[in-house]
């Protein structure tokens, strides 16, 4: 079990180091997210009330679109120079590889959120709270799990990078619905306590995605 975590951490810190050395990808994704948010807000700026109402949906859409690029890159970079096989032959546990990649993507998406949130707060006049934070974490966990799963799946296919959004977006629909709904409720100070049901749904999605991908990781990663 300790080897498993050692491998997970090794992958996570390697990816971290690589992304740090090659910051352009990170920066361009952050900028892309920023631009998306601004564009959405220009498109709707006629009506501030409407903007507030749309804010949760726009925020999650921005996050989904902006993270696609880096999710795709997550396993794609292992495809070059036989690195994937190199990891397998060293005896990596496919689930440790998956988990390492997943944590890296989660970290990245959280960073993207931290970057976008203040802007959201100003542009759309929303209030930050702990409940909102919980929703954001749960939503991005689901997003990174599914994204990592499809990244592993499409990395082994030629032209796989074009397939990723096609496969990912439909699967994200339930997650998107739940995340947007809870965010809406939280922002509207949820008077009737409906948010708990939606939060539970979100947690269930996360668990299903996580278990599903860990169970299939071996098949997915080791040929």
């Amino acid at each position: 079990m300790t080897l498993f975590f050692q491998q997970t951490v090794a992958i996570l810190s390697k990816d971290f180091l690589m992304e740090y050395r090659d910051r352009s990808r990170l920066l361009s994704t952050l900028l892309f997210g920023l631009l998306l948010l601004l564009l959405f807000s220009f498109a709707l700026s006629v009506d501030p009330a409407l903007m507030r109402k749309m804010a949760p949906g726009l925020f999650w859409l921005t996050l989904f679109f902006a993270s696609t690029l880096s999710l795709e890159h997550s396993f794609q970079k292992e495809r070059e120079e036989g690195r994937w096989e190199g990891l397998l032959i060293l005896g990596i546990d496919p689930r440790a590889l998956f988990l390492g990649k997943l944590l890296g993507n989660l970290l990245f998406i959280s960073l993207l959120q931290l970057f976008l949130l203040p802007l959201m707060a100003v542009l759309y006049d929303i209030q930050l709270s702990w409940t909102l934070g919980t929703v954001l974490v749960l939503g991005s966990l689901g997003l990174s799990t599914l994204g990592t799963f499809y990244s592993a799946l499409t990395a082994s296919l030629r032209e796989g990078q074009f397939l990723l959004p096609l496969l990912l977006y439909p699967m994200l629909v339930p997650l998107l619905l739940a995340s947007v709904k809870v965010t809406e409720l939280v922002l509207a100070r949820d008077l009737f306590g409906q948010q708990v049901a939606w939060l539970k749904l979100l947690i269930v999605f996360d668990i299903i995605f996580l278990l599903g991908s860990l169970l299939t990781a071996e098949f997915l990663i080791d040929r």
Partner: protein, 213 residues
């Protein structure tokens, strides 16, 4: 258990064409074997099957007396493969590449050990330079250093010589000598017959999907 590799009636097909067919191969523990054959004769395919990276389409085989379908991770832990691809990360330094490999392998090495490995391959001065900035031969030597991690029983080398200069070949020759002395089993696939023959007990040639010796 004297045979480290036993393959019976192994076949491997890509799409419609059979690269290996009805191939039998037995290699004893401690043997050093050359694998020759024309381009596309299936040398790399055979080595990948041995490394459990590819499964054969037909036939059965054992390595270390284990079934590769069931005990993949045991087999991988006891062998190393130098492949056509370097399996290195360009933005990381030699030291970082070795560190990563060791941690995934579960080896608790410190930087002193890595540095001595790099020193053995005479690439210590490059230890903190990103791989992407290094020459091909230097990268190849780093790949050789990676083979030294842990204590593999079986070492598979797919074209170890290209990109190595004269001193690189000498270093590799020295490594092979040591490995043989330690009783490790070696398979070297190469087009450099002259150099390879110096280091092996016997020569296998792949032709028409089968092995002749």
């Amino acid at each position: 258990m004297n045979n480290i590799i036993e393959m019976v009636e192994i076949g491997r097909r890509f799409d419609r064409s059979w690269v290996l067919a009805h191939m039998n191969l037995t290699i004893k523990k401690g043997e050093s074997v050359a694998l020759f054959g024309a381009n596309g004769s299936g040398k790399s395919t055979l080595l990948k099957i041995l490394a459990t990276l590819l499964s054969p389409t037909t036939g059965r085989f054992q390595i270390f007396g284990k079934n590769p379908e069931k005990e993949k991770s045991f087999i991988r832990r006891h062998l190393r493969l130098l492949g056509h691809d370097k399996q290195l990360y360009g933005s990381l330094t030699p030291l970082e590449n070795l560190r990563l490999a060791a941690r995934i392998r579960g080896l608790d090495y410190n930087d002193k050990i890595f540095e001595s490995l790099l020193g053995q391959l005479q690439i210590l001065p490059f230890k903190d330079q990103p791989i992407g900035e290094l020459s091909e031969g230097t990268k190849k030597k780093l790949v050789l250093a990676k083979l030294l991690l842990g204590d593999p029983e079986l070492i598979l080398m797919d074209e170890p010589y290209p990109a190595l200069d004269k001193s690189g070949r000498e270093i590799l020759g020295h490594l092979i000598h040591e490995w043989r002395h330690e009783g490790k089993t070696l398979i070297i696939a190469s087009h450099d017959h002259e150099e390879t023959i110096k280091h092996v007990d016997r020569v296998l040639t792949l032709q028409g999907g089968m092995i002749s010796s």
